[in-house]
């Protein structure tokens, strides 16, 4: 039996190469292979995600510093610095050794001493390039090496180890004895897995529609061929196997195409830098999970074969020819509404959670999106049924749709799902965008930590040259030997007067507002003392100071003028200021000014990484899907012309103009696409309303430009497909087609 089955499949493979003439056969093979190939690409990429995240997690864990005593190792003071340069993340450690036996950081040959730096290759390259000019002031150190792949999470990561002589006294410093924490088991959590499944499914729907459409190319001639096989003795099972064999060849070719595409994408992966994968992805980390990938890949050829066999369900192939089961059953609405009702109910059940990651919300969104292709066939059928005659072109189009609305609905269902998803997510994105400050202006909060008074004063002076900033405030925290803490407010008399009611003030004066310190008492700068008590800066409070009722900054504060603090050899003071509206260049100047001795937060210079990623993926996905949908429409239009060439030629012979036929073709494409867009807009906006208004209680923003662009793109696709079909129409309607075979 196996030999018979193999022989049947082989015959199918052979017919696939020759079916309907060599050119048509190759076109069908190429189209199906492309469709299956794209599906394979989506599946391989999706199944690579767990390993990609896992490898990333392992890389991050390998360089995670671990505190604690390790015999034979001199602890390393390490201070994490999280910075930015023009929206790109810039991260690294300030390091200060306590002895020659330092712990080894992965990918780093030798950790830098003061005045030295070890940079990631991407950061080194950026500093060398003209783009990095504004960044160079932040890295005046001598470069002693680059970080190897083992010490980076991605090839484009901007990462550094900068040697520092004062890391030990900075707040939040840690004494590290080794690198390499246990990696968290970073597979996909159930929610992420669900999101990957949704994403892959959304991409696979149009791919599947495309594959099914391409296998239907030259279906009429295939059916005739199969009927001829029945006449010479092929039974129904053999016919199905031969049909499956025809699809199998294309599927196998698709596996190869998909594999090649995946390798191409994998090779290009290091060039991709998206905010969600800060620093990009190493090619070596993109490895499909074969436990998921192999079944998924095997499923694709089976799916294509099943689609080919399933397409025969309404066709009875008998030795005398092909009979189409014409009994059309009116589609029922009630069960088609179940997904949308269930989805809506789930979303409503999530009211008040205010968490869009709630599984009920995710499942609700999936169900509402899944409802689109389920409801669309009913809608297309009913809508087409309502249409009545008009011009001859309109009449021909409407009657054709009434005769077979299923094909049209199937063709546009993929486009409708993705458009609905795009509109919904763009709506959420528009809402998030509307909360941000006007584009191009950022609110910058800069904090500078100094261990010497001169540095504080230099920073304040340097900041004074920047435009439109709020007054610089310098604060510290003092701790007494008894462990009591009080705030230190540092400034000139003029500055201090703004913080407290001072009757008279001279440089060198100190004012206490409820501070638990005594004149002449020794105090430490808190926050710095944790790292190394012996090295913590200290100061002796002057023998005389004034008492004032209160200060604005804290209930307990010591207000100190510069000359009074000059007796301290080192300090621990943080100076901070705000620039309410800074352009991108100014933001980078502030960062350079602060360097790695402080932090700079800017709000509004760049879009949030996750949203940027979603927008980019959506744009690429929408374009790809539109191309696929347009391809499916084109194939279907060609196929219809081929099948109807005799009747079209007859119409021409009877005086119907080609213009009428062309317009009829246009209507046939435009009506279902218009319905798909309408359903997509309704579903997308409905989702926005449910998610924004009901779940997270935010006002909905209708992103009209996006809706307009998507609608215009759909209209352009219809026009393009019509234009691409016209040459075939002119050929098909040649009166030569009236000749008998």
């Amino acid at each position: 039996m196996i030999r018979r089955w193999t022989a049947d499949l082989a015959l199918g493979l052979r017919l696939a190469l020759r079916g309907g003439g060599a050119r048509t056969a190759l076109v069908r093979l190429a189209l199906t292979a492309t469709g299956v190939g794209l599906g394979v690409l989506v599946l391989l990429t999706a199944t690579s995600l767990p390993h990609m995240l896992g490898a990333r997690g392992e890389r991050a864990a390998a360089r995670t510093p671990v505190a604690g005593d390790v015999r034979g190792v001199d602890p390393l003071y390490l201070l994490l610095r999280d910075d930015e340069f023009r929206g790109r993340g810039l991260q690294g450690y300030l390091v200060q050794a306590t002895g020659p036996r330092q712990p080894a950081a992965p990918g780093v040959e030798r950790l830098p001493g003061p005045g030295e730096a070890v940079l990631s290759p991407a950061l080194a390259a950026l500093l060398q390039s003209p783009d990095g000019e504004l960044l160079r002031p932040r890295f005046p150190q001598r470069l002693i090496g680059t970080i190897g792949d083992a010490g980076l999470t991605g090839p484009n990561e901007l990462f550094f180890y900068v040697g520092s002589g004062m890391a030990a006294v900075q707040p939040e410093v840690s004494a590290v004895s080794r690198f390499g924490a246990e990696p968290r088991d970073r597979g996909l959590d159930p929610l992420e897995l669900l999101l990957v499944v949704i994403g892959a499914t959304t991409c696979l729907v149009p791919v599947f529609v495309f594959v099914v459409t391409s296998t239907r190319l030259a279906a009429a001639s295939r059916d005739r061929r199969l009927a001829a096989l029945r006449l010479v003795g092929a039974d129904r099972g053999q016919v199905r196997r031969i049909a499956a064999g025809e699809a199998l060849l294309a599927s196998l070719a698709g596996l190869v195409v998909g594999g090649v595409l995946f390798l191409l994408v994998r090779a290009l992966v290091p060039r991709i830098t998206v905010s969600a994968f800060r620093g990009g992805i190493f090619t070596a980390d993109v490895v499909p999970d074969w436990r998921l990938g192999v079944p998924a890949l095997l499923a694709l050829p089976l799916l294509a074969c099943a689609a080919a066999v399933f397409a025969l369900r309404r066709v009875v192939i008998e030795p005398l020819g092909v009979v189409r089961r014409g009994t059309q059953v009116r589609r029922k609405l009630w069960w088609r509404l179940l997904p949308v009702l269930a989805g809506g109910a789930l979303l409503l059940s999530a009211l008040g959670t205010e968490d869009p990651r709630d599984p009920a919300v995710v499942a609700g969104v999936v169900l509402v999106l899944a409802a689109v292709p389920v409801v669309l066939p009913w809608l297309v059928e009913r809508f087409a049924g309502l249409l009545r005659g008009g011009s001859p072109a309109w009449l021909l189009a409407v009657r054709r749709l009434q005769l077979d609305s299923a094909t049209a609905a199937r063709l546009v269902s993929g486009i409708a799902v993705v458009l609905a998803g795009s509109i919904a997510l763009q709506g959420i994105y528009a809402r998030a965008e509307s909360d941000r400050p006007p584009s191009g202006e950022a609110r910058v909060l800069a904090t500078y930590f100094a261990t010497h008074l001169a540095d504080t004063q230099a920073f304040t002076a340097a900041f004074g040259t920047l435009p439109a900033h709020e007054p610089v405030r310098t604060l510290g925290r003092l701790e007494t030997a008894a462990g009591e803490q009080t705030a230190l407010v540092f400034g000139t008399c003029a500055e201090l007067r703004a913080r407290a009611e001072l009757t008279e003030c001279r440089d060198g004066d100190v004012y206490a507002a409820g501070a638990p310190v005594r004149p002449g008492e020794q105090v430490w700068f808190a926050g710095t003392r944790r790292a190394d008590p012996a090295a913590a800066p200290q100061w002796t409070v002057p023998d005389r100071f004034h008492r004032v009722p209160r200060a604005l900054d804290a209930p307990s504060a010591l207000l100190v003028t510069p000359a009074a603090l000059a007796t301290a050899t080192s300090v621990g003071l943080a100076s901070s200021t705000t620039i309410p509206a800074a352009g991108p260049e100014l933001v980078e100047r502030v960062r350079n000014l602060v360097g790695f001795d402080g932090t700079v937060y800017s709000l509004g210079t760049e879009r949030d990484g996750t949203y940027a990623l979603i927008t980019r993926v959506l744009s690429i996905g929408s374009i790809l899907v539109l191309l696929l949908a347009a391809g499916s429409l084109l194939i279907a239009a060609w196929e219809q012309l081929r099948e109807r060439r005799r009747s079209l030629a007859t119409l021409m012979a009877n005086g119907v103009g080609r213009g009428v036929l062309a317009r009829s073709l246009l209507w046939q494409l435009a009506i279902p696409v218009a319905l798909a867009v309408a359903v997509a807009v309704l579903a997308g906006l409905g989702l926005d309303w449910l998610l924004l208004t009901l779940v997270v209680h935010r006002q909905m923003v209708v992103d009209l430009p996006t809706i307009g662009i998507l609608t215009a793109t759909a209209a352009a696709a219809v026009l393009l497909v019509t234009a691409a079909t016209l040459p075939a129409l002119w050929r098909t309607t040649s009166l030569e087609q009236l000749r008998e075979e």
Partner: protein, 227 residues
């Protein structure tokens, strides 16, 4: 001429919706004889032929082949009969356009489980026997109508069938080509002791038969013809 009864139709009736195509047609076909079914268009000739070949299941009456009621056979068994015991030559459309003439002739053998090389060899021999070596590598669309019908004859005979069903085999050919095809079909069938059931409305074609049966209004009537 008169061998054992191979095919036997008894009171066969068949309707397509309200249209009654056959109304109690009966016929016997013996091994090696050529029977022509004659009659005007719409008389039910082709329907009777389809019932005899097991392609169409009659609504009433029985069709027996070598004593077995075709109606009781499964689709698979009837398909197997078409591969092994029956051959077909129709007016047009029965050749698979994607395959070469040689592959078309080999097709019933391949479907019956023969290996590719053996099937091709037998097909080549059959084509050579019928003087069609030249078209072996061509596709049906690349040969003339007459050649195509002769290839169909070759395909019908390649499995050494007991019965060849021919439905208007010359219907799409000019008279000269029609004569050639009929000559080939009847000669080759007789050489192989195969019976032929021939549907035609042309007396010229029917003249190749041993016996003529007229079908009118779905019923059969034997004509006394002496050749």
């Amino acid at each position: 001429m008169t061998g054992d009864v191979l095919l036997e139709a008894d009171g066969v009736g068949k309707a397509y919706g309200p249209t009654e195509a056959l109304a109690g047609a009966s016929l016997r076909v013996r091994a090696g004889e050529v029977v022509a079914l004659m009659g005007p268009s719409g008389a039910g000739k082709s329907t009777l032929l389809h019932c005899l070949a097991g392609i169409v299941r009659p609504d009433s009456g029985t069709v027996r082949y070598r004593g077995a009621d075709l109606a009781t056979l499964s689709d698979r068994a009837r398909s197997a009969l078409r591969r092994t015991d029956f051959g077909f030559v129709f007016q047009f459309g029965q050749l698979v356009p994607e395959l070469t003439c040689l592959e078309n002739v080999a097709l019933p053998l391949r479907l019956n489980g023969a290996r590719g090389r053996a099937a091709a060899q037998r097909a080549r021999t059959m084509l050579a026997d019928l003087g069609l070596e030249d078209v072996a590598g061509k596709r049906p669309g690349e040969v003339s109508g007459g050649q195509g019908q002769r290839v169909a004859v070759a395909r019908a005979l390649v499995t050494a069938p007991s019965v060849v069903f021919a439905d208007e085999p010359t219907g799409a050919l000019d008279s000269l080509n029609g004569e050639q095809v009929m000559q080939l079909l009847t000669t080759a069938a007789r050489e192989r002791d195969a019976a032929i059931v021939l549907v035609t409305h042309e007396p010229r074609v029917a003249a190749y038969s041993d016996r003529e049966v007229v079908v009118r209004d779905g019923r059969t009537r034997e004509l006394e013809v002496t050749r």
